[in-house]
């Protein structure tokens, strides 16, 4: 089977957590690999290759997306929020603190994506019900916690 020759590059300008980056990227570059490999923002993770796990979840112009399901070129001109932008300097925000207090993370691999999904949920619904919380994070797989404490943490922020 012959390999497909990569289509040429393009310069993109992306704002991430308030900083603007300009980079030349291959057309097939995924947004997650752009964030992790080109910008060295390694907080967002890769847990699958089918868009199922949600470890790469980020906010794209305020909308929750899985960054493995977008190309970097699609983010040209967009504003992206990742886990690295949640804390105020060294001060964890309420949601991050709640995750710690409720032991809502073990290995921490799904956590960045989980935090971004919860952030999107709480912006839309500041006081979500448990059912709304579970729906809000249904696109994020966690293999450590059984979701029990993640739900409790989000609930406590929205209380």
């Amino acid at each position: 089977m012959a390999a497909t020759a990569p289509v040429g590059g393009k310069t993109v300008t992306v704002r991430v957590n308030g900083t603007t980056y300009e980079r030349e990227v291959e057309a097939r570059r995924l947004l997650i690999h752009f964030l992790r490999d080109d910008l060295d923002l390694t907080g967002s993770h890769v847990g699958c290759d089918t868009g199922n796990c949600g470890a790469c979840s980020v906010l794209y112009d305020g909308t929750l997306v899985k960054s493995c399901m977008l190309l970097a070129v699609q983010a040209d001109g967009a504003s992206i929020e990742t886990v690295e932008g949640l804390a105020e300097g060294d001060e964890l925000n309420d949601l991050q603190q709640a995750f710690g207090a409720h032991h809502a993370l073990q290995c921490g691999y799904c956590t960045p994506g989980m935090l971004m999904s919860a952030t999107a949920l709480l912006r839309e619904k500041p006081h979500p019900t448990e059912d709304e919380i579970r729906k809000g994070i249904q696109g994020n797989i966690c293999r450590c916690t059984g979701y029990v404490n993640i739900v409790e943490a989000i609930k406590s922020v929205g209380a």
Binding site: N52, V83, L92, L105, Q106, C107, G108, R143, Y147
Partner: protein
């Protein structure tokens, strides 16, 4: 006899306010959290090196085929490709990995890449290194491999039949290991029994814990020293190095493993040595750092499945009053294409031979075979889970067939609280516990007293209603001497773990561990233990994150596996800290002019008990010894840098009788599950669930409960949806999260937890290893389904995984599942 404390049956909550002295036992903030919550953890895939190359493996599309040729020339012509590695090179540069088994398994040849043949879909055949991930994948497609397909073997039950293809011709058989375990007197038990219940076949499915972070490494080769550094997520480097070094024909000191944060392991990151050897060879060949990150589909297809096991010709001896006397069974274990960590699974189950029960006559014929499927590796609950599923299925089938109450059968036959320490028929010593009490708590949590009302209510809504129990043990801290029962030539026994604790110049307390945490909070719990001994706060203690061979804080069995950190890891931490405390007192006594016994450690100082104002802050002690030591007595033989090797008290087992103490501690899990089933579709919902755990002294209750949640979620996933089925050609049908459905937040039932604390008399902290669980959720779901369906032709649940379609099949044809069940009564 140890003290047992009943706790209120509600989840642990975070305690507010400043914790008092006695840090162990409290929910202190986790040291790991701050970096992980900010995306500042360091997982292996986050690490980069200048001009590093990305590795992509060319993998077999066939389950079984002869390799006629491998041509990498077109891949090498692509711009940006740095180099390749083939099986032929591997066969020249390395020796096969050593095998743990006696013959025939001993003769199975396992290399870093396929040599001559492929034996499962996804088996690496060649590797390509290129400037980017995408380019490496492009180049891999240009590698031309000519295969001659062979007949695949996908059903372990025909692996020994005449027409079956033989995977490893050198071995001459598909059998890895077989043997008989015979304890007590089965014939006498059968003769004494009023009923012998026979079950033709039960099947424990393939699945795995599928950690969210896939496997991988970044490998650097230092040409000057001949050493490799692997920044990786291997969870058992001690044993990984023992596999890799001889195969690579180098001393073990040439291999340095470094980990920091690992995105879950669950045993699935123990057998990474073939991949790591390929990466090491490439780093040396290309004189370049190389990086390999496994793709999710490759993780499912080709890395590590849990052991699939068939239980056949089961016979159970039962008295009329429900007393269980014993059982016999033929176990057939399917380990996939290569043994790797196997055949250890052929003995690990024996840690829990009788499960939670007092029966004394047990005979197990155990055979393990290879098939053309992904190799297995330890998987949370490794090997004991399969066996405990058998014992729990036996209990529920016996109760079902003889019209007994499953709760009463359990209570009648559980090992009693007053019988601990309890020696099992094969010489294991259950340290402590109270199974009946745990069961009562679990039943209370699901409001068992009102269960019949609930059944009536569900039936009025057109649902079938069922309740089931799972009673399991999480045996922790292996005696590796059990491997000698499989192969007397092996030179493994006992166990060990290492920690170092030092007091540095400015008073810093720094801990290094030999363990390799993947979410189990070792930094936090270690700091609790250290601060209790040194009289300071966990916040004053720095625990280095992860594992590094260069820290010299490891031993042959170092790693994080098999539910043992609270015993081995914290045992080492306690040992090293006790040593350091003794040295700090010696030094303070010299400075203050008194005897070491006159000194106490408190409030971050070493001070005279009789005169607390005569106190030296830790900083002074660190500075005096490390930087201002002129005039100290010559015979003051201290370093303030203490290394301790924890070694549990084990003997080698009696190989003839296959008898001995195989693990040090036994944590208990008793779960209760309530289901409602739609009789028309087989769709079911878990409407109530309780998990009761007893792991002895809990160092950090919140962390313990988190492990209970996680183990339960994985068990529920395995019971309901997670399975690795193969088609007749040996293709995996669930090769990624698209097809392999793990529980999402909406799938999880409401979960209630409870606990008791039966301290272990055999460990320094009274704690027991925990975390794996025994798969109690799988057993509880199976039992609940069988109970729910019993009014519809009394089907028997014969499989560990029961997706809706299988439940529907049981509803459609209950007689089929009953065909293998028979009761012979006197």
């Amino acid at each position: 006899m140890t003290e047992t404390t009943v706790a209120p049956p509600k989840p642990v909550v975070v305690e507010e306010g400043k914790p008092q002295k006695g840090w162990a036992g409290q929910n202190v903030p986790r040291k790991e959290d701050k970096r992980l919550l900010q995306g500042e953890g360091v997982f292996f895939d986050d690490i980069k090196r200048h001009e590093m190359g990305y590795v992509h493996f060319v993998r077999s599309p066939y389950a079984h085929a002869r390799i006629k040729s491998v041509d990498v020339s077109k891949a090498l012509e692509l711009d940006g490709v740095y180099g390749t590695l083939t099986g032929d090179e591997v066969a020249i540069l390395t020796d096969p990995f050593f095998e743990l088994s006696v013959k025939p398994g001993a003769d199975m040849k396992d290399y870093a890449l396929a040599v001559g043949k492929v034996r499962f879909v996804g088996e690496p055949v060649a590797a390509v290194v290129a400037a980017t991930r995408d380019l490496a994948r492009d180049a891999a497609q240009l590698v031309e491999v000519d295969y001659e397909p062979l007949q695949p073997l996908v059903d372990a039950r025909v692996a020994q039949s005449g027409g079956a293809p033989v995977l490893h011709e050198e071995a001459g058989s598909n059998v890895v290991w077989d043997g008989t375990f015979d304890w007590g007197d089965w014939e006498a038990a059968a003769a004494e029994a009023d009923h012998v219940v026979k079950i033709k076949e039960l099947h424990f499915d393939r699945f795995s814990s599928t950690p969210l972070e896939c496997s991988g490494c970044l490998v650097e080769y230092n040409r000057g020293t001949g050493q490799w550094t692997m920044y990786c997520n291997h969870q058992m480097p001690g044993v990984g190095a023992i596999w890799m070094a001889p195969a690579m024909r180098v001393g073990i000191d040439k291999l340095r493993f470094v980990t920091q944060d690992i995105g879950g392991g669950f045993g699935n990151k123990i057998c990474l040595h073939p991949y790591f050897v390929a990466c090491c060879l490439l780093a040396r060949k290309l004189n370049r750092a190389v990086q390999w990150t496994e793709w999710r589909t490759d993780q499912h297809t080709a890395n590590a499945h849990g052991n699939e096991r068939w239980f056949q010709d089961i016979e159970v001896a039962v008295k009329a009053d429900g007393t269980l006397l014993g059982f016999k069974v033929k176990a057939l274990d399917d380990c996939g294409a290569f043994p790797r960590y196997e055949p250890l699974g052929c003995i690990i189950w024996a840690q829990v031979t009788p499960g939670c029960y007092r029966w004394r006559h047990i005979r197990v014929g155990f055979t393990q075979v290879v098939t053309n499927k992904s190799p297995v590796s330890p998987n949370r609950g490794y090997s004991r889970m399969q066996h405990l599923w058998l014992t729990e299925r036996i209990i529920d089938v016996v109760a079902h067939e003889l019209g007994l109450d499953p709760v009463q059968v359990r209570k009648k036959n559980y090992v009693k609280h007053e019988e601990f320490p309890y020696e099992t028929p094969n010489g294991c010593v259950y340290d402590s516990g109270d199974y009946a009490r745990c069961l009562d708590i679990a039943l209370d949590l699901v409001d068992y007293k009102k269960i019949e009302e609930k059944r009536v209510d569900a039936e009025a809504r057109g649902k079938l209603f069922g309740i089931g129990i799972g009673s399991t043990l999480d045996s922790g801290t292996n005696n590796f001497g059990q491997s000698m029962i499989l192969n007397p030539e092996l030179q493994f026994s006992g166990n060990n773990e290492v920690a170092t604790v030092k007091l540095d110049i400015f008073g810093e307390i720094v801990v290094t561990l030999g363990t390799v945490p993947q979410g189990q909070s070792h930094e936090t719990t270690s700091a609790q233990v250290v601060s209790d001994i040194l009289g300071c706060s966990p916040a004053d203690v720095t625990v280095r994150a992860g594992h590094d061979t260069y820290w010299n804080s490891h031993a042959g069995f170092s790693g994080t596996y098999a539910s043992q950190f609270a015993v081995t890891g914290l045992g080492a931490v306690k040992g090293a800290t006790d040593m350091l405390a003794g040295e700090m007192k010696q030094l303070a006594a010299v400075v203050l002019g008194c005897a070491p016994d006159d000194i106490e450690l408190a409030d971050g100082t070493a001070r005279m008990k009789a005169n607390p104002e005569a106190a030296l802050p830790f900083m002074a002690l660190g500075a005096i010894l490390n930087a201002n030591n002129a005039g100290l007595p010559e015979d003051l033989n201290i370093t303030l840098n203490c290394r301790y090797v924890y070694r549990p008290p084990f003997e080698k087992p009696d190989l003839e009788r296959k008898y001995g103490n195989l693990t040090l501690t036994y944590a208990t899990q008793i779960h209760a599950c309530v289901v409602e089933v739609d009789p028309d579709t087989g769709v079911y919902e878990i409407v109530d669930y309780a998990a009761v755990d007893d792991c002895g002294k809990r160092i950090h209750p919140q962390i313990v409960e988190g492990q209970v949640h996680g183990a339960t979620a994985q068990a529920i996933g395995a019971a309901t949806h997670e399975t690795f089925p193969y088609d007749e050609d040996g293709n995996l049908l669930t090769p990624n999260f698209y097809d392999y459905h793990v529980p999402h937040a909406l799938d999880m039932p409401p979960m209630k937890t409870g606990y008791i604390e039966s301290e272990s008399p055999f460990t320094s902290l009274g704690a027991k290893g925990m975390g794996e669980g025994g798969g109690a959720g799988i057993h509880a779901v199976c039992a609940a389904l069988q109970d729910a369906l019993s009014s519809r032709g009394r089907p028997i649940v014969t499989d560990s995984c029961n997706p809706y379609h299988r439940v529907w099949s049981l509803l459609q044809d209950p007689a089929a599942s009953r065909a293998g069940v028979e009761v012979v009564s006197r």
